[in-house]
């Protein structure tokens, strides 16, 4: 008597449904804009223009998207193993230590193309180690990973404040930040891409860590769907009992998965530190760890979904900043409301329109939902 699970064509599942969710989110956001007395269509225009209007703007959008790809992948990897890693924020923050350590140590002696791989390793290792503790506690002591990772965000934040104020800050400096990285600690920009297309980019921070993010997306896909480890992670994620039955070591898989997740979150630190600010300041993660959760939800934990979802949130960040600048009635908080609506409809209410669409497709063409019109012989 269960309602049969109708399989929808992939383009509907991964294209149409997210698109409908997004449109609804924007319609509701439009009403919010209307409520504060602005024209929603003009606001949408400014938002879009601000995000994609020029090479400069696109570069900014992609710069933000880079952060979200890393943190989104981190959340997605853990999701596949049934773990909810809320600690991306803290893992990325603390991984900044690894990046800074490499940059500050070698920026005067080594070229960027040597410090970059070193910094990638350092960021990944520190992020992984920060995720290891909650993972161990979950695997061996049964402490819930949601609680421990969120606590570890606070611990990371406090440690970083201490280190930046008391240890890493150069003596003469007022602001709690490290000294600026020299040339060897700065990543090359990707502005030339836009310039070669005839667009002008003045000072956008888009850098090669964007390419690293894309590479990681591919590697995550490979890991999840093409390796034995990924198979074990997915088994664990769908059914811990089946994993036990299949002889998969629960503790080992939890720890390994969380370390991979932490490493991905940690790599996010490369983008703002070596790619943009060329120093480490307080709170450089700026919520990217949490946006990663929304991105992973919206992207269905699939790299091919996470990249566009990251670009969407990059657009909201970049275009939203422009919007707040252009429309005095719309503050930064309003942008957060719009982001929240997108998260609500794309993540939490993801399946709201699914039954209706399912029925529609079933009546339009039964074969498209993968069901035989007349049921075949039972066995």
């Amino acid at each position: 008597m269960s309602v049969p699970y109708a399989k929808l064509p992939r383009w509907v599942d991964y294209g149409l449904i997210p698109l409908i969710n997004l449109i609804v989110a924007f319609i509701v956001a439009g009403f919010v804009v209307l409520l504060v007395g602005e024209n929603p269509f003009r606001a949408a225009g400014i938002l879009f223009e601000g995000a994609f209007g020029s090479g400069q703007n696109i570069a900014y959008t992609l710069f933000y998207a880079t952060n979200f790809i890393f943190t989104g992948l981190a959340v997605a990897v853990a999701f596949h193993c049934g773990l909810f890693n809320i600690g991306g924020e803290g893992q990325a923050y603390i991984a900044g230590l690894g990046v800074s350590l490499v940059a500050l140590s070698f920026d005067s002696t080594l070229p960027w193309w040597i410090t970059f791989p070193l910094a990638i390793i350092a960021a990944a290792v520190v992020g992984a180690l920060w995720a290891l503790i909650p993972a161990y506690l979950q695997a061996k002591r049964g402490s819930h990973i949601v609680i421990t990772t969120i606590m570890f965000n606070f611990i990371a934040a406090s440690i970083m404040v201490y280190l930046l104020v008391d240890v890493l800050k150069p003596p003469a400096e007022q602001a709690p930040q490290t000294r600026s990285f020299l040339e060897g600690g700065q990543l090359p920009k990707l502005n030339f891409i836009f310039e070669s297309l005839g667009m002008t980019v003045r000072s956008a921070p888009l850098n090669i860590s964007f390419l690293l993010a894309l590479l990681m997306a591919y590697l995550v896909w490979l890991l999840i769907w093409r390796t034995k480890l990924g198979y074990e992670m997915r088994t664990m994620g769908h059914s811990p009992k089946a994993a036990r039955y299949a002889g998969i070591d629960e503790a080992r898989i939890i720890i390994v998965t969380m370390m991979i997740s932490g490493a991905l979150a940690g790599m996010m630190a490369l983008n703002p530190l070596m790619g943009d600010q060329h120093r480490m300041a307080l709170d450089f993660v700026a919520g990217a760890g949490f946006v990663g959760i929304a991105v992973a939800l919206m992207g269905r934990s699939h790299p091919a979904g996470i990249i566009p979802a990251s670009i969407l949130f990059g657009m909201l960040y970049q275009g939203g900043a422009e919007l707040a600048f252009d429309m005095p009635n719309i503050s930064r908080d309003m942008i957060v409301i719009i982001q929240g609506l997108v998260i609500l409809f794309a993540g939490a209410l993801e399946h709201m329109f699914r039954p209706a669409i399912q029925t529609l497709f079933a009546s339009l063409s039964p074969s498209s939902v993968g069901l035989p019109v007349a049921k075949g012989k039972g066995a």
């Binding site: 008597m1 309602v3 049969p4 699970y5 109708a6 399989k7 093409r226 390796t227 034995k228 480890l229 198979y231 074990e232 997915r234 088994t235 769908h238 059914s239 009992k241 089946a242 036990r244 039955y245 299949a246 002889g247 998969i248 399912q358 029925t359 079933a362 039964p366 939902v369 993968g370 069901l371 035989p372 019109v373 007349a374 049921k375 075949g376 012989k377 039972g378 066995a379």
Partner: protein
């Protein structure tokens, strides 16, 4: 002729593209026991859910006592005098019987009055129908048979004239089932109408006045029970002739493959579920464990297969110990030739969200033939899956389809194919045909006998007594965590039933 209690006229119901009920016509005469029989997915439960107001029919008419009605909610159904006893009880385990009976029918904010009223009502129902239950007992402390009685009482307390029972005997011992049938007959004699949904042909023959056979969402036939036979019903259910008897030759037991000694296992709450159990399984025989669900069979299987840690005792596989009290690793046991078809294929034996081919390597995904370094060898896995699909007649035949889209019987075949094709020395099978349609049961039974004849040791646990009797060469009966007796395959059902209920006939035992 009087108006039928319930009449369904041209009922249609679709879920998406699945036509679950197709033009159903059904009349249930007042004061009769009416059986509805059919395989899983034949549409029995959907039809009853429409009658009880869980679903609305797309088209068609329901008449209760001759009057056309529309039933939108279970509450409306109750007001029309329709009561339902669900397969999975809808009781609050830590409430008393009385509290459960009045739940949802409390009447007023203070419970005193309604409890007093319910107490009187229960006493009356007890007198009239022989439904004895202690009204102050906590429901979770009652045996399953009595819990079911509470469900019946709930329906009657709400004034049910028509009682629908969905697979009511699945959890009962034969004796409890007999008692239930006596109660149902009494209800009938008092003028109530009973609708019995089941897939057990024997029950239909034993108790019903009329029987309706459903297949693929349609009513195949309605017969007077006296004028039909088990064979005819089975044929109508499946749509072809089926072999109800399992043909098998003599067992040729050989060396001991699996030796269980003094095994004691606790469940996750710390309750001892298996205590001091010892037995052997030899190559070339099927040892069946009979028992009512929940008497420790599940825990026994889990301990032997390394999923659950045992408290004490030992298990030897081919003369070498399995670390059942320590870190037994199901993966290592597989390498040593112990294959396991778990009871719960939905959560343990399969990952329903996986593609079929991914499930066909579950547990064996470490083997080199499926791997390419750290990568899965997708080509090899698909080829392997296609081979199993063909050999085990798994349908649909697409190994890339999500496992959730396969029927129960085909899902079970996926598990069986995976475990049997590894050519294990010992095969442990839990509930091999639970939720599996008749056609597939025949196939699965044949494969199990084949495994035996190939010289494998097979340990079979099933709550279907018929299944244990027809497959096993030796039958062990489990009750309250102990093996209370061993019988040959020719032991009578009555004798096994008594053992399953914990009644020892021989004083010597």
């Amino acid at each position: 002729m009087a108006e039928p209690a319930i009449e369904l006229i041209g009922i249609n119901k679709s879920f998406g593209a699945v036509h679950a009920n197709r033009d159903i016509h059904l009349a249930i005469p007042r004061g009769t026991i009416h059986g509805i029989i059919g395989e899983n997915g034949a549409g029995k439960s959907t039809l009853m859910s429409i009658l009880y107001g869980f679903y609305q029919a797309d088209s068609g008419e329901i008449r209760v006592a001759g009057k056309p009605t529309v039933i939108h909610t279970p509450n409306q159904a109750i007001q029309l005098g329709i009561g339902m006893v669900h397969q999975h009880f809808m009781l609050v385990p830590n409430f008393t019987v009385l509290e459960n009976v009045i739940l949802g029918a409390e009447g007023e904010p203070l419970l005193n009055a309604s409890i007093a009223k319910a107490r009187g009502e229960l006493a009356r129902l007890e007198r009239e129908y022989g439904l004895e239950v202690d009204p102050d007992a906590i429901v979770e402390e009652l045996p399953v048979g009595l819990q079911q009685r509470v469900e019946i009482l709930k329906a009657l307390y709400r004034g049910a004239d028509i009682l629908i029972l969905d697979e009511p005997t699945g959890v009962l011992t034969p004796a409890e089932a007999d008692h239930l049938f006596r109660i149902l007959k009494q209800l009938k004699d008092q003028g109530k109408t009973v609708v019995l949904i089941t897939h057990k042909l024997r029950e239909i023959m034993a108790i019903t006045d009329n029987v309706t056979v459903m297949r693929q969402g349609t009513v195949v036939a309605t017969r007077e029970t006296k004028k039909t036979t088990v064979e005819e019903l089975a044929e109508m259910m499946v749509g072809r002739r089926v072999l109800l008897r399992v043909d098998k030759g003599e067992a040729k037991p050989n060396a001991v493959k699996l030796a269980v000694r003094n095994l004691t296992v606790k469940d996750s709450r710390g309750v001892t579920m298996v205590s001091d159990v010892s037995f052997d399984v030899r190559a070339g025989e099927i040892v069946g464990i009979a028992g009512v669900a929940g008497n420790g069979q599940s825990e026994l299987l889990e301990a032997i297969s390394g999923i659950r840690r045992a408290e004490s005792g030992s298990v030897e596989l081919d003369g070498h110990p399995i670390h059942v009290t320590g870190e037994a690793d199901p993966g290592e046991l597989r390498d040593r030739g112990l294959a396991h078809v778990p009871e719960d294929r939905h959560h343990v034996g399969l990952v329903l969200a996986f593609e079929e081919n991914e499930n066909s390597i579950l547990g064996y995904h470490d083997q080199e033939e499926y791997l390419n370094g750290v990568f899965l060898d997708i080509g090899a896995i698909l080829k392997d899956a296609r081979g199993k699909i063909e050999k085990y007649d798994i349908r649909p035949t697409n190994p890339r389809l999500k496992t959730a889209n396969f029927s129960g019987g085909n899902q079970q075949k996926i598990v069986l194919a995976r475990e049997m094709e590894q050519d294990p020395g010992v095969l442990i099978v839990g509930q091999p045909t639970r939720g599996v349609d008749v056609g597939a049961i025949e196939f699965i039974h044949r494969r199990l006998i084949e495994m035996r004849d190939l010289g494998k040791a097979v340990l079979l646990v099933s709550v279907e007594l018929d299944e244990v009797r027809s497959l096993s060469d030796r039958i062990l009966v489990m009750f309250a965590g102990r093996i209370v007796g061993e019988r040959g395959p020719d032991a009578s059902e009555g004798e096994l039933g008594l053992l399953m209920a914990g009644v020892h006939k021989e004083a010597a035992e």
